[in-house]
């Protein structure tokens, strides 16, 4: 995918662009409203990652401009204002998704992939690694072409792993992805482990290979050869 990242904080912009490039996308960067406005007039992008609070303008105003020229371009909003009305305003102006700062890169990746799927596969994408296949629209998981019974959370967890293969996912980012703000009420994320244990068991029962590796002190990693 060709992605334009608009963000005025350079250290963050650097992190985002290098992360996106690692993911195999083409990434262009812009650190201001006017610059971004010129870029979207000149080039076509598949996805615009947009910070709302830019020093020389409101990022949200770029969306109508973009949509009038290139309606199929996806928009993901990044904002420090992570409250409900900003979210609503952003989505109303035509954005596909919204992510409040600060966020985990793995979470950003999951959102980018979700927009990508909606744009290019109408949501009918399959995630397939080795002998494991996830049919995302139907929420079906197959091991060696045999369906396995996963709970909703387990499916979401496996999807999160397969969206971020070969990347260390902290327990924190997993918990936040699955339970959102509710995890504040918990002092430890041990319950993440019990879900992973269940997934491993269910995969192995059907003769699949357990690719979830525990990285001590950090979290988990889904290993793909």
């Amino acid at each position: 995918m060709k992605i334009l990242v608009v963000e005025d904080e350079v250290p963050l912009l650097e992190s985002l662009s290098s992360f996106i490039r690692q993911e195999g996308h083409t990434c262009e960067i812009s650190s201001g409203y006017l610059d971004a406005s010129q870029k979207i007039d000149l080039y076509n992008y598949d996805l615009l990652i947009l910070d709302v609070g830019l020093p020389d303008g409101n990022g949200l105003d770029l969306i109508p401009q973009l949509k009038s020229r290139c309606p199929e371009t996806g928009v993901l909003i990044l904002s420090a204002k992570s409250s409900m009305d900003d979210k609503v305003a952003g989505l109303d102006s035509g954005a596909d998704d919204y992510l409040g700062k600060p966020f985990h890169l793995a979470e950003l990746n999951a959102r980018i992939r979700a927009i990508y799927r909606r744009r290019f596969f109408s949501g009918r994408e399959k995630l397939e690694f080795g002998n494991i296949e996830l049919r995302l629209s139907e929420k079906i998981a197959l091991v060696n072409n045999e369906p396995i019974e996963l709970t909703r959370k387990e499916f979401e967890l496996l999807e999160f792993f397969l969206t971020n293969p070969n990347r260390v996912l902290s327990k924190e980012s997993i918990a936040e992805h699955l339970w959102g703000d509710a995890i504040d009420s918990s002092d430890s994320f041990d319950f993440v482990y019990s879900h992973i244990k269940n997934i491993r068991k269910k995969i192995c029962e059907k003769g699949g290979i357990d690719c979830i590796k525990t990285i001590y002190g950090l979290g988990y990693k889904y290993l793909v050869e």
Binding site: E9, P11, F103, V168, A182, S185, D187, G217
Partner: protein
């Protein structure tokens, strides 16, 4: 003591003193004047009696009030006045008389002449006069007091109004205080001062809130940078376990700071009433959804959930705010409940209550609604959860109440504003 009371008390005291002094003085003066008058009459009477004696000593005495006695030794003396009590037929009651006694010698014979006159008419006259004067004065004073009271009630009206308006003034509803103008200069001045001060206070308050909100937003960006860089570091896969443990602590701190920041932004926004749109919400359904979302967290702590969430309890509210209330109260239960204990969530038409067993608290449970007051030492707690709940309830006109007894904590939100004892 009311201002009017204080003024009136002084008025009355002073008036009493004046009345007493005037009454006493008047009595004294009038008495002296009438006595002098009577004495003069007695002296002229004495002179005419002496003349009559000179003309004819035998026929001089025809008045019962005049008493003439012959003296064996002739002598002359000046008239001596005295007050005496005499009983007079037919009543025979002792009455006050003024008497003059004098000795004179006519034709070599000494006479002692005693003339007395009744004091009754004068003292009656005096009393009447005094009564009239005192009556008039009392009438004047009471009239003044009543008039003063009425007048004061009317003139102090603006003052009372200002006071009432100041009392009902609150920063929460953001309305500038509007006082009715007054004709009285002092109140006019007071009004200006009040308006200026409340305006300034309101402005400072708004500035402070804007500052909080802006500061919170500004903090989000560096946090995002830290988080992104940390994720990149973790993702690089070059860290060992020890470094990983360090990173995890950093991660926790970032998360805590993020949550704190978001809660502060939320508090400010609720205080600013930025969530005014409301819609009917099925509270039972909303609660069930949230419980479902947190089921794993209940399970992880071995908590047993007992719920009574009937359908059809519809609350008019902003959906987001209601979610925060239910979410925070649920979190609270999960966080503070004793492991493997029961949690009860009961809903009825008036209220919803969350009950859990937990540590004994030694402070007033109401303080948990204050900012940064934490019930336990668990580091995961921000101390803002219940503050948010309370704030939302205030804005929505609901009542939230915290009870603690025998190791059982219960938080109840009553939607009709009246705390319900159960």
């Amino acid at each position: 003591m009311k201002l009017l009371q204080k003024i009136n008390r002084n008025y009355i005291g002073y008036s009493m003193l004046v009345i007493l002094l005037v009454g006493g003085g008047l009595t004294l003066i009038l008495k002296t004047i009438t006595q002098n008058e009577i004495d003069e009459q007695l002296v002229s009477e004495l002179k005419s009696v002496e003349q009559r004696i000179r003309r004819n000593p035998e026929k001089a005495c025809f008045d019962p009030m005049v008493n003439i006695t012959r003296l064996s030794i002739p002598s002359v003396s000046v008239p001596i006045f005295s007050d005496t009590m005499l009983s007079e037929p037919p009543e025979n009651d002792a009455e006050g008389f003024r008497m003059v006694t004098a000795c004179d010698t006519v034709g070599g014979v000494g006479y002692k002449i005693r003339i007395s006159t009744s004091m009754i008419p004068t003292s009656e006259f005096l009393g009447l006069l005094l009564m009239t004067v005192l009556g008039a004065m009392i009438l004047l004073v009471t009239g003044l007091i009543i008039l003063n009271r009425r007048l004061a009630r009317e003139t102090w009206k603006p003052f009372r109004q200002y006071l009432d308006q100041l009392q009902s003034f609150s920063f929460d509803n953001h309305t500038q205080i509007q006082l009715a103008p007054s004709e009285i200069e002092e109140f006019s001045e007071l009004r200006l001062v009040i308006e200026r001060f409340t305006e300034k206070a309101l402005k400072d308050f708004t500035n402070l809130k804007e500052f909080t909100e802006n500061a919170s937003h500004e903090i989000q960006t560096p946090l995002a940078i830290i988080q992104a860089r940390l994720d990149a570091l973790i993702g690089s896969g070059t860290m060992d376990e020890e470094q990983g443990n360090q990173v995890e602590i950093i991660q926790q701190a970032i998360r805590r700071l993020t949550r704190l920041n978001q809660a502060l932004i939320m508090l400010t926004r609720i205080e600013n009433r930025q969530f005014s749109d409301s819609q009917p919400i099925d509270l039972g359904q909303l609660t069930r959804l949230q419980i479902e979302q947190t089921a794993d967290l209940f399970k992880a702590r071995g908590l047993n959930l007992i719920t009574d969430l009937p359908q059809g309890v519809v609350i008019n509210s902003n959906p987001y705010l209601l979610e925060i209330i239910i979410g925070n109260l649920l979190s609270n239960c999960i966080k503070h409940a004793s492991p493997d204990s029961d949690i009860k969530i009961l809903l009825n038409q008036q209220s919803i209550s969350f009950t859990n067993a937990g540590e004994t608290v030694n402070k007033d449970p109401e303080t948990f609604f204050d900012r940064f007051v934490k019930g336990s030492k668990s580091s995961g707690s921000l101390g803002l959860g219940l503050t948010l709940v309370k704030k939302i309830c205030i804005v929505a006109g609901w009542n939230v109440n915290y009870q603690f007894a025998d190791g059982i904590h219960r938080v109840t939100v009553s939607f009709n504003g009246i705390p319900k004892e159960s």
